[in-house]
């Protein structure tokens, strides 16, 4: 068990997504993952949010389909998780492919 702190969060407009993965690659803290077993109304996998978002707007700025709304919390939010977060966001971000 560990605690992950999110200083921001996103709203994901799932049905707008075209599954291109660009957001996942862009997220500097690697908190976006694509669905593997579910597709949206257009038949695309789409991203889901894990704890740890920093509200950096990387995803929203790179997303070609305007799927994200980004918020920054006034006070950070803590999430209890079973595993520790990955060491390097960059490596793990690549690992998502």
């Amino acid at each position: 068990m560990a605690t992950i702190r999110s200083t921001g969060t996103v709203v994901i407009d799932v049905d707008a997504c075209k599954g291109c993965d660009l957001c996942v690659a862009a997220c500097p803290v690697d908190v976006l993952v694509m669905t593997t077993d579910e597709v949206n109304v257009r038949g695309y996998p789409y991203p889901q949010l894990l704890p740890g978002c920093v509200g950096c707007k990387a995803c929203s700025q790179i997303c070609p389909d305007f799927v994200f709304q980004v918020y920054r919390f006034e006070t950070p939010v803590e999430h209890e998780v079973s595993d520790p977060p990955p060491e390097s966001s960059l490596e793990s971000s690549e690992g998502v492919q």
């Binding site: 597709v39 109304v41 257009r42």
Partner: protein, 196 residues
């Protein structure tokens, strides 16, 4: 014997490829075929539609038909005009993963196959229509599976060679799903729609 099949979907689902496979497979059986494909409007992801006419005598028909014997329906977007071309007693196979539209009331039979889901299992969403074609073949027996697979090399552009394998799998997966449906239908006593 003359069979008209209309296919409808959105760009990137493989509609045109499926029409080609069906056509070449029918040609291989010594039938006459005409295909008309419409796709790519102002942008990607737009409507795509195909009309396949298979006949045992040379086809002299306008490129589009308005009384089709059956349909392959991949998506609700833009499907309206195509669905309107179906004869009252026709039947359709539908990609149940994504299709959310209305179908005409008077169809003889509707077969729902989760083609996109199966395609993703196969490894590429883009082969969804090939899955549905496989199912269609199983249900209608219009063309045999082997000749669909045999048509793949000719129908795929040379530079897309690596897709042959994926599509072969998709056809097989779809064919299996279609066979299940056909079997179930037979049990249910639904009327057969295969080529007489």
């Amino acid at each position: 014997m003359r069979r008209e099949v209309v296919l409808t979907g959105i760009g990137g689902q493989g509609i045109q490829l499926s029409a080609q496979l069906m056509a070449r497979s029918a040609l291989a059986s010594g039938l006459f075929v005409q295909v008309f494909g419409s796709y790519g409007g102002m942008m990607r992801g737009g409507n795509t539609e195909a009309t396949v006419v298979v006949s045992d005598e040379p086809v002299v028909a306008p490129p589009t038909v308005e009384r089709a014997w059956s349909g392959i329906v991949m998506h609700h977007d833009y499907s309206e005009a195509t669905l309107a071309r179906l004869r009252p007693d026709s039947f359709v196979v539908v990609d149940s993963t994504v299709f959310e539209g209305e179908l005409p009331q008077d169809l003889r039979r509707v077969s729902r196959v989760p083609a996109t889901a199966l395609a993703i299992e196969v490894g590429r969403k883009q082969v969804a229509c090939t899955v549905l074609l496989g199912a269609f073949a199983a249900i209608t027996e219009l063309v045999p599976l082997e000749s669909l697979v045999g048509a793949l090399p000719a129908a795929l552009p040379a530079y897309r060679g690596k897709l042959t394998e994926l599509n072969r799998e998709a056809l097989e997966v779809g064919f299996r799903a279609g066979s299940d449906i056909a079997r179930r239908d037979a049990v249910d006593g639904a009327s057969r729609v295969a080529v007489p």
